[in-house]
């Protein structure tokens, strides 16, 4: 009934538009189709903009260390405690808590140890800055190694001394005998 009513409206508009000139029923059909496609895509774009609950749970759980595992995140661990911790994360998200508030909740109970990536402050800065500090040392080592290798290579190359005239003469004779 509703479809029929809409179709009737479109038909009526088609007639008016056609009489005004420029817009034909075919144009209008295309416009309606494009609009329908755009509208059908809208929920997908909204979905992409706001990640769903389980995605958020996984993202937060990936930042937390499983307390009863060796080097596994709460997201990756199959242990029962990790499962329960994911449930706590889910509950707190449903209560409207932010990602930081949830991470703080676990830090308050387990300490910063619970975070897989240590915060960039205090002694933890060593972990973050050490690779950058060692970079020039490594570069210097590579430079020194390369330099030494080139020097040794040069030293190993025999000097291009002039050939003794007696050997040159003999060599020439040998070569001539093959031609």
């Amino acid at each position: 009934m509703m479809t029929r009513a809409i179709k009737g409206t479109i038909d009526a508009e088609n007639i008016v538009c056609s009489r005004d000139g420029g817009v034909t029923p075919r144009h209008l059909r295309w416009s309606v189709c494009i609009l329908a496609i755009v509208l059908s895509l809208m929920p997908c774009s909204l979905w992409a903009a706001a990640p769903d609950l389980e995605t958020l749970v996984r993202e937060i759980a990936q930042q937390l260390r499983c307390p009863v595992c060796q080097g596994l995140s709460v997201s990756d661990s199959p242990s029962e405690l990790a499962h329960e911790m994911r449930a706590v994360v889910r509950e707190q998200l449903q209560q409207g808590k932010t990602r930081q508030e949830i991470l703080d909740y676990f830090v308050q109970r387990y300490g910063e140890w619970i975070l897989l990536a240590p915060p960039k402050r205090g002694f933890n800065l060593v972990i973050w800055l050490l690779p950058f500090a060692l970079l020039p040392v490594g570069a210097l080592a590579v430079y020194a190694g390369t330099r030494r290798w080139v020097r040794n290579r040069q030293a190993a190359t025999p000097p291009s001394a002039a050939l003794d005239p007696r050997y040159a003469e003999r060599l020439q004779r040998e070569l001539d005998s093959y031609t």
Binding site: P67, V68, L81, R109, G111, L130, V137, A141
Partner: protein, 178 residues
């Protein structure tokens, strides 16, 4: 010492030092960040049908023991000491509560019957109490002072002497937290 050896030494020393530091740390010895702060409140449905609510015991010293029947031998070794300490202090404003961690109900009941535990005990459904207290394994025992603050956390098997020492300290109103 050649330049090469010097660079190897300079590069390897901090890495090895960090590795040694990380491996030598005992995870159980990490202090709880909750020490000195208000103990997280909780309510526990007990095996005997009642309910235990921490909030109802403010003003008393509370001992929370987190245990499991599969925790062998530590939980079995400490079980008699817990009951003995409870019997000794139950009339002196001290409350004991057992929090059964990730266990099967039948096995937990069997454990309680075997050691004739008479203090309140209940299953930690969803591990909510354990997570709230930052439990990393069993057994762990927490001591809450009369003001409701977490005063001490003991990781691993606990002895009667340690139970007595901690309870006496809190009953005497010692302010020191550990």
């Amino acid at each position: 010492m050649s330049v090469k050896k010097f660079f190897i030494l300079v590069s390897a020393t901090p890495v090895l030092a960090l590795l040694a530091y990380g491996l030598s740390r005992d995870l159980g010895s990490f202090p709880s960040p909750l020490i000195g702060r208000e103990a997280p409140s909780f309510a526990l449905s007990l095996f005997d049908g009642g309910t235990f609510s921490l909030d109802e015991h403010r003003g008393k010293v509370v001992v929370i023991n987190v245990w499991a029947s599969w925790c062998i031998p530590a939980c079995y070794n400490e079980a008699p000491a817990l009951e003995a300490a409870w019997q000794r202090y139950r009339e002196r404003d001290v409350v004991f509560v057992g929090v059964n961690y990730q266990d099967r109900e039948a096995a937990a009941r069997e454990f309680l019957a075997r050691f004739r535990h008479t203090f309140p005990n209940g299953p930690d459904l969803g591990s909510r109490v354990s997570i709230a207290y930052g439990v990393r394994g069993v057994p762990e025992t927490f001591f809450i002072d009369r003001d409701g603050r977490l005063a001490h956390r003991h990781v691993g098997e606990i002895s009667f002497d340690v139970l007595m020492q901690q309870i006496e300290r809190l009953l005497n109103g010692a302010g020191g937290l550990s």
